[in-house]
Amino acid sequence: MKPFWFGAGPISNAGVLVRLGAIGAVMLSVAGAFAYTGGWLSPVRLTQDRMMVAFQDANGIHAGFRRNHAKGVCVTGWFESSGEAAVLSKAAVFKPGRVPVVGRFALAGGMPFQTDAPATVRSMALRFLLPGGEEWRTGMNNIPVFVVNSARGFYEQLFASSPDPATGKPDPSRMKAFLAAHPETVRAMQLIKKRQVTSGFANSTFNSLNAFRFVDAAGASVPVRWSTVPVEPFAADSAEPSAAGDKNYLFDNLIAQIAQHPQQWRLIVTIGQADDPTNDATLPWPEGRRQIDAGTVTIDQASSEDSGRCTAINYDPLVLPSGIEPSEDPLLSARSATYARSFTLRAEEEHEKPPSAVTVQEVQAGGKS
């Protein structure tokens, strides 16, 4: 018996039409599936492009700058591993010894020329350059927990804090509605408000916020969060330099301190227990969890973004060495994807980027603007 559809021999004119129609339908379905996968058929699906539009609505357009943590400086130094984390993670970075580090200090928010202020969230991003081309990139903030626990939450918060085109100011009713729908943000903000703000970057503690997993040589894994804890003693922020008119006082102080002597942070790894939340960055882990001092980060050079080695780098939290794995926290994929798009956009805009707030001259002058 001959196959009905495929096979040889003449077909009637009507048959040709039916077959052409079937081919068209199959091709259209494949094209439709492709368009659906690309998000073109789903106007409400949260995509990388829609996230970028939300940043633009909240902060305006700043060509060539990161869409978030836009104001920053580059630093370099090294990480000296104590070897203590090597039992929990097979990552080469935790074997005793040194690896080079390229970092970036920044202020949260998409405004590259904002005035430094104590309450603004500070960040430290680090890129550990391991042997064999492996890397570990991490971006940490000086807050104990993150304000949202999902990409959608982040997007809605951006929308709620965007200026209303009519008034030029955020509409308080939008923020109220956002907080009503996100009790996790209300709880997180209470913890964040309680934190002690220090006098500068050099004595700030920076936290990974998201959970990860350390995997040892035998394949066993434990949930972890990490922090960089300053060797510099605590000093409360007085905010006076800001009042004295130095818009970049936090960055200038950091540059001056690094010029004086290298600044150091201990890399403290907190090991979670089975019930500790690893999928929700708004929730702190209970006090008293076991902690490991994995080693010391030393920063001995600062440079402007306009000449520094951190500028052409995306501090993607999913760039991890073998031995560190992502947790099931949905923010990790969301951050990775959003950073990637922000990185591509600013790379495309590089030729129109104005000088960064902290200029090459300012760093050369030792941090005095």
Partner: protein, 177 residues
């Protein structure tokens, strides 16, 4: 006249091994470029080594094409369709070869580590340069759309041969006998 000749077994094997890989690659690519969902990480994790695997198979396939030439198209095929068949195959081969290299190159220019598996990384093949990255990243997208369009045309043409012309061209690649 209908052609009774078939593609050699090695060619059919390579074609049917790579076809689902390439189609998956196009869908993963367009999906991950849009996604901020928890699937993003997995998609990236598949996309990079799969791209390199396609590149390796493509090199083998080009060598195989010289060793095992494809059967002639039937003489009855109009010259325009004959030209379209030749041109689309050249485009498909070129894209299979170039797309992974553009991807590898753009990741190199951005200094993203190119993870194969575990601690295995591919070395960068281009200097660390944002402008170069931006150019290659846009090229990667443009070539991906061209690849999808060419694949769809190829798929439609194959069905046209099999269902309407019934000239043996479809069976020369698709038959299992």
């Amino acid at each position: 006249m209908t052609t009774k000749a078939r593609f050699p077994a090695a060619s059919r094997l390579l074609h049917w091994m790579m076809a689902p890989m390439i189609v998956a690659m196009l869908f993963i690519g367009v999906g991950m470029a849009a996604s901020v969902s928890p699937r993003y990480d997995l998609l990236v994790l598949i996309h990079r080594p799969l791209g390199i695997a396609i590149f390796v198979l493509c090199v083998i396939r080009i060598v195989n094409r010289f060793i095992n030439p494809p059967p002639e198209l039937p003489d009855t095929l109009p010259s325009l369709q004959r030209f379209a068949a030749k041109a689309s195959h050249i485009i498909l081969y070129a894209l299979m070869f170039i797309m992974p290299l553009v991807g590898w190159g753009m990741l190199s220019a951005a200094r993203y580590p190119i993870v194969l598996y575990g601690p295995l990384r591919l070395p960068p093949i281009l200097p660390h340069d944002l402008t170069l990255y931006a150019w290659l990243r846009d090229l990667h997208t443009a070539l991906a759309y061209l690849f999808f369009a060419t694949f769809l045309t190829h798929f439609g043409a194959a069905l046209f041969h099999g269902l309407v012309r019934r000239d043996g061209v479809f069976g020369s690649m698709a038959s299992w006998r």
